[in-house]
Every structure is written in C-alpha cells, then in structure tokens.
Amino acid sequence: MTDALLSLHAVSKTFPNGVTALSGLNLEVRAGETLTLLGSSGCGKSTVLRLIAGLSTPTVGAITWADPRARNNIGVVFQEPTLLPWASVADNVYLPLRLTGLTRDGAQARVLEALSRVGLMEFATALPRELSGGMKMRCAIARALVTEPSLILMDEPFAALDEPTRFKLNDDLVALKNDLRATIVFVTHSVFESAFLSTRILVMSKPRGRIVDEIEIDPDVRRDADFRTSQRFSDICRRASQALRLATGEPAAREFA
C-alpha cells in the first residue's frame, strides 16, 4: 500500500448561490497513482480538483497534505487549453516559471524539455491560434509539467477533442506518466478513458458528489492497444458503466439491480 499524498476529510462545498456541490466527501490521493474521478456533469468532480488545487476552499472539512511543500507545486490542465493567445507556445510554457521569478534564459532548458516531452519542439515559436485542438492541449500539458510538479490535476482535458486525437493523447499521457512518476488526478466523464488511464477509479454521483464505487486496476498492466481490446478492459468498463448508471438512476439501471 502506498502512502497518501493528500486526504480530504469530510469536505463539503456550498457555493454562494446556495448550490451544494459536495457534502461530507472523504477521499485519499495516494502517491504515484493515477486516480480518475468518473462521473456525469454536475456531480462535483471538477469541484474536487479546484479544492485540491487551492483555487477554492472547503465550506466544511479539511484537506491535509503528507508533505505541505507538495501543495505549492501542482500542475493543472484545465478543460480548455487556456493559453495566453498573445504569447508563443514556448512563452506559454515558460509562464509558470516566469511567475516564480525565473529569467527566460534560466528557464529555457526546462521549457524545451517540457516541449519535447509533448512533441511540440517544432512549434515553440507558433502562436496558439496556429495550433490544432490537440496541439493546444499538448501545450497546456507541457505548461503543467514545466515546474516538475509531484501532483498533476487534469480536468476533462480531452473532452473537446475528436476520438483519434483523444486516443493518441491518452497513449502519450501513459508514456509521460511512466517517465515522470508523478501522481495524477484525472477528471472525466468517459468510461473508456478512465479504464485506460487509471490505477484507481472513483465513480461519483449526483447530488453532492457521493462516491458510489471504487475500482482498483493493477498499475503494472501495460496500457497499450492490446489492453484496449482485452477482456480485463471491458470488465472494468462494464463495472464502471453500471456504477455510473446506478448513480444517475436511469431506468436501464434496474436490469442490473
């Protein structure tokens, strides 16, 4: 059993408009895992990411970190690429380092390394609008990697991409993950994506972000094209889909009950 990197203790979040997104959530992120929060839109999964990132504070409850320093170095990939449209690809990746006071020359080696990891070396001087949707996302991933964070949060990063691009980026993310040994918390509503990427899936449901199922996946299994068509993969998908259907209370769910 690996150690917890951080834990959410009985965390509730109520927004100023009175909507309660989370209520009494307990959750542990283990060091080195790829944890997927799987759920339909509005189940509070993005709120969990924002709380972990420190962009939002819990109304009730607490988040504890095994190493408080880790919370100051988190990489986040948002739903949209959120690149600065006026800055080149390299400057977008340089931004987090620039904000810590590093000079452009001092940061150059790390910026180039992050760009090469996502395969954007040739596009260093391009502007975001010259990139395809998938390349913009790669740029956002490079930006999240450039500070060498121990925790990377990804909020449905590939939801807006077409399927071949999404598969390619899933493959690349697996390769990156093996390289970096970072912990990843990944939010998605795609069952297939969660089954392919994760070492653990938490299925969340409306309302108030209850966790309705937890699926562990052997971290040593090779995530490749064979895995995508394996019996094991489809078992995981079936179980996750069932949990998701039960959670949303769709009529079809009764057949499995």
Partner: protein, 259 residues
C-alpha cells in the same frame, strides 16, 4: 485579386462621385460662390496652401496633444478603477456625465475660464478621454476566468497579473477605444475652435472655415473642410494600422477575413 477589389472599387467609386460633381457644376454652370467644383477646391487648396497648412498644423497639434493626454490619463484611471469597486462606483458618474453632455455645450463655458488655446485642448481631451477610459476598464475587467485561475494557481502577485495577463488581455479593447478617441479628439478640437472662433483668437482649420464664411469665400471653406476630412482619415488610418500591427496574429479583429 481580393486586394485589388478592396482597393480599386472604393477608389473608382470615389473618383466617379467627384467626376459627377465636376460634370454637374460645368453642365448647370453653377457659380463657385454657390458650389465650387472639385477642381476649383483643389486650386484653392494650392493657392492658399501657406495659410491652410499652418492652420492644419495647429489643429493637428491640438488633436494629437489631446489624444496623448487622454490616452495616458484614460489608461491610468482605468487601472485605478480596476483596483477598487468603491473607487469605480464613486468616479464613474463623473465620467458618464462628461460623456453624455454634448461637448459643444461645454465649450463656451471653458472659454470663459481659459485661454482659447487651452480651452480647445481641454475640449478635445474631454471627448477623447471617455472612450479610452471605458474601453480600457472593460478590457481589464473581462479577463478569461480560466486564465485567472491559472495565475492564482501559480500564486502570481497582483503586479504579475497586471503585466502578464490583464494589460495584454485589455489591449484589443484599449485599441478600439483609442480608435474612437482619435476621431473624437479631432471633433472636440474643431468644435472648440468653432466656439472660440467668435472671439477671433483661433488659427486652426475650423476657424478658417468660419473666417472664409464671413468673406463668402466658399471654395476656401471647402478646401479647409477637405483638409479636416483628410486629417480625420489619416488619424483613423494610423490608429487602425497600429492596432493591426499590435494584434497581428493573435486577436480575431486583426485576422484576415474570407477564404
């Protein structure tokens, strides 16, 4: 092909309008003191060039000076307003009152308190100031939420957010405000010159129009008017080119249309 059409068609249309004007004057034998032909206006422009061009320099100088002051103070105030909602609520009514009051109604009052040259400058400044202020304030306030989150995530200071995020994000709106302000500062200068004209102090182009009117020198009125139009066109063109240059590549407004 597109370039040719974009440039040639308006030029041909404009030349045709001038040609028709010239033809009608000749055909109906309209005397120049009723309506001068374009050729007569051009001849007048050449004949009175020393007088008219020195007036042009005066008007242009006032307009540009006012625009520079309006830009600096408009951006500075927009930055100040962006710091505090309280300040914004307190100061915005003044800015709006200044904006909605027609400048021609303020000009005579300014002439009571100031030397005509200063009154003209203040008039031009007042009209150019508001669009620059309001557009810049709007631009500073309308930064993408996800980008704000990104800067919060990396614990950017207020200063870093301003330099790396809010100022560049506000640039398109600021430039739109500057284009409006550029046109308005010329109008403000002309209006104030007209108002001051009665006291016989101005030497700008608007004053030349008033003066030529008294002398029934209609061609000179048209010549001065043509110079004012050209000045307005030049200011608009220069600011549009600046905007295109600065936003080139990243902002929708500066991208090539079609195809």
């Amino acid at each position: 092909m597109t370039k040719l059409r974009d440039i040639a068609v308006p030029l041909v249309a404009f030349a045709a309008a001038l040609g028709a004007w010239e033809a009608i004057i000749a055909w109906k034998a309209i005397p120049p003191y009723i309506l001068p032909a374009p050729s007569a206006i051009f001849a007048k422009l050449v004949e009175d060039r020393d007088l008219l061009f020195s007036s042009l320099l005066v008007t242009l100088g006032v307009t540009l000076k006012a625009l520079v002051i309006a830009t600096i103070s408009g951006v500075a105030l927009a930055l100040l307003l962006a710091q505090s909602k309280w300040l914004e609520r307190a100061l915005l009514p003044f800015a709006i009152i200044l904006q909605v009051t027609p400048i021609i109604a303020i000009a005579p009052l300014l002439l009571v308190y100031m030397q005509p040259e200063n009154a003209v400058l203040v008039c031009a400044f007042l009209v150019a100031f508001f669009p620059i202020l309001s557009n810049t304030a709007l631009g500073l306030a309308s930064v993408d939420h996800a980008l704000r989150d990104l800067f919060d995530l990396y614990r950017a200071s207020a200063w870093q957010k301003l330099i790396y995020l809010r100022l560049p994000a506000a640039l398109p709106q600021f430039l739109a405000g500057l284009r409006i302000g550029g046109g308005l500062s010329l109008i403000g200068a002309i209006v104030a010159e007209l108002a001051a004209g009665a006291s016989g102090q101005g030497t700008g182009l608007a004053y030349r129009i008033v003066e030529a009117g008294f002398r029934l020198d209609i061609p000179r009125m048209f010549a001065a008017l043509a110079l004012i139009s050209l000045t307005g066109l030049a200011i608009y063109g220069a600011l549009a080119a600046l905007s295109h240059y600065l936003l080139r590549g990243w902002h929708e407004s500066a991208r090539e249309r079609g195809e």
